[in-house]
Symmetry: C2
Subunit: 338 residues, 2 copies
DNA sequence: ATGAAAGCGCTAACAT
DNA sequence: ATGTTAGCGCTTTCAT
């Protein structure tokens, strides 16, 4: 933009060698330099308005201090907290996060991955649910550092950070059983997502544990529409109606609200609904949604911590961190009608 | 992470000079190279798994192909669409967005700005509402490229992209007046935000235009709590109760929902409420919220377009782009009670 | 404690 | 059409 001030400029005005300026201005090498010289260099640097060039430094040190974050879609409300969690850990350590959206496209994911590689990111945090493991397998064999968040590593030896979904679903089922529900249905997420699978399996297991007959219905997407249509189909069929619904995420649960309303059913008086994620404003819907809170911010923090540890080489091997979830009981669940 | 493949490696195996490889691999210089040579170079590059080093290129070209995006908080639902809009314009053009959050802190904003400068971003998109203009004034005098989004430039000669808030508020007031409301209240955003000021002024002007007495109440923040408390105070006072509320954003309107409910007032039967922004899920609250939709994604796109134009030097001077907004009528507004 | 020199990987002006 | 050369701004051995 203007004439940039470089290290050499500072060195010249301070009457020292550029190498000395470099040492004086860097925390870790400052001690190698005479106190007085260091002070003078800093004064001159400030006077000149010197701004270090991180690109030049990165070229030399082979460290970009940048982390690539690959998510499906920032407008999906679970991702902003994850990204902020990541950033809150990275920023104080001098790292920046470069966030990209795949919109669920595998080819986009590949392209973005390569683009981040070109930018010399020091590692990746990957949150895309149904990713081809092939990409990550290749990345691993290339020696690329990465951590998975909100998904398992699916065989590739990368660390991952997930919420304890199974426990969350179990708590939801237990809550409903204690309210007297015996006919419980699970609105499962689309096949191919590891979260869908984990939650559906946990639902089946929990129903077995509590000795209630649980039925599972797949949906084609984690969306309001998908939830509404799935429940519409269920409600329109001749099947024995359920009195409680455990949805695989809050959007699906919201779709269930719509479907219930359009069928003249009240929530929670006629049918109880439990969501998953506790996305923003889940407590502001009508009725306020009972849901499983996943600690998204903390998952972001933890994934960043893990990644920096791996980069630093202080990680033994791939670990799997499971963070506790909690059932948030609000107004969408009540005693079963008789 | 492994032994990196460089231009020189490709050159050696292809039996040409590095300069030739550089030309062969770059779109704009490819024509300067023999077809056959170019093909061979590309083949070798692929064979070796060559990944260009964008950091090295950036150092040489003085172009990082990175844009700094400064926002208050990614978890505020209006920002993800803006960021995605920005990204949708930048990505196809080879640019990446480096997004940072200030959390409303001026000192954080300064620090982050400097950090982005160090990373040699080619320009900034700034969405922080109550920013010290001082920072941007300094930036401008430093020759830094920038565009403001969702806020005005406040005297600094930078371009800005905003929604037509005044028109949106006017449409809201008109809608309420046509429904027979005469006692309308505006829940204004916190002072210091340009959006608060613009919307409050527009409210006053619209009330004058439609000849209804409009009252304005300030809130200390754009939050649910602030909206609830402000309306609580109003409802608990002896003032002549309003039959309609125009809030400066959806969060404030949501707070109004809560306050109304806790006072035994129904929305929209007793009191109509209009929000602003049409944030995600505004239509899923109970009642579905009537609100002014601001084209956040498009605002992002437009700000990115403007910024790249300015960087390319193809912009005459600072322009102010105002994008149309629209009133989305849902269930929170109805005829005034008599 | 500081200077000297080399080079990270690339592009671009100049030469042939 | 391709080779040569010279850096971009920084860090980091190696000397002194």
């Amino acid at each position: 933009m203007h004439k940039r001030v470089t290290l050499a400029d500072v060195a010249q005005l301070a009457g020292v060698h550029p190498g000395t300026v470099s040492r004086a201005l860097n925390e870790k090498t400052e001690s190698q330099v005479n106190q007085a010289t260091a002070r003078r260099v800093r004064r001159v640097a400030k006077q000149l308005g010197y701004t270090p060039n991180a690109v030049a430094r990165g070229l030399r040190t082979r460290l970009s201090m940048t982390i690539g974050v690959i998510i499906p879609d920032l407008t999906n409300p679970i991702f902003p907290p994850i990204v902020r969690g990541i950033d809150s850990y990275l920023a104080p350590r001098g790292y920046s996060a470069l966030v990209v959206n795949t919109d669920g496209s595998n080819t986009a994911e590949r392209t973005l991955f390569e683009s981040l590689m070109e930018r010399q990111v020091d590692g990746f945090i990957v949150a895309t649910g149904h990713s081809q493991h092939q990409l990550m397998a290749e990345a691993h064999s290339r020696g690329v550092h990465a951590v998975m968040v909100n998904r398992d590593a699916n065989g590739v030896p990368y660390s991952s950070v997930i919420g304890d979904d199974a426990q969350g679903i179990r708590a939801a089922v237990e809550h409903l059983v204690k309210l007297g529900h015996t006919k419980i249905v699970h609105l499962a997420g689309p096949v191919g997502f590891s979260t869908s699978h984990i939650r559906a399996s946990a639902f089946v297991a929990a129903c077995k544990e509590y000795d209630v007959p649980g039925r599972v219905f797949d949906t084609p997407a984690y969306s309001i529409e998908a939830g509404q249509e799935a429940l519409d189909a269920l409600l329109d069929s001749q099947l024995d109606p359920a009195t409680a619904i455990v949805a695989s995420n809050d959007l699906l649960a919201l779709g269930a609200y719509h479907s219930l309303r359009s069928h003249g059913l009240r929530c929670p008086e006629d049918v109880s609904v439990v969501g998953f994620n506790d996305m923003p404003f889940a407590g502001d819907f009508q009725p306020p949604m009972t849901t499983v809170r996943a600690p998204h911010f903390e998952m972001g923090v933890e994934s960043a911590r893990l990644l920096l540890s791996e980069i630093a080489g202080s990680l033994s091997g791939a670990v799997m961190v499971t963070l506790p979830v909690s059932l948030v009981i609000r107004g969408s669940t009540a005693a079963a009608p008789h």
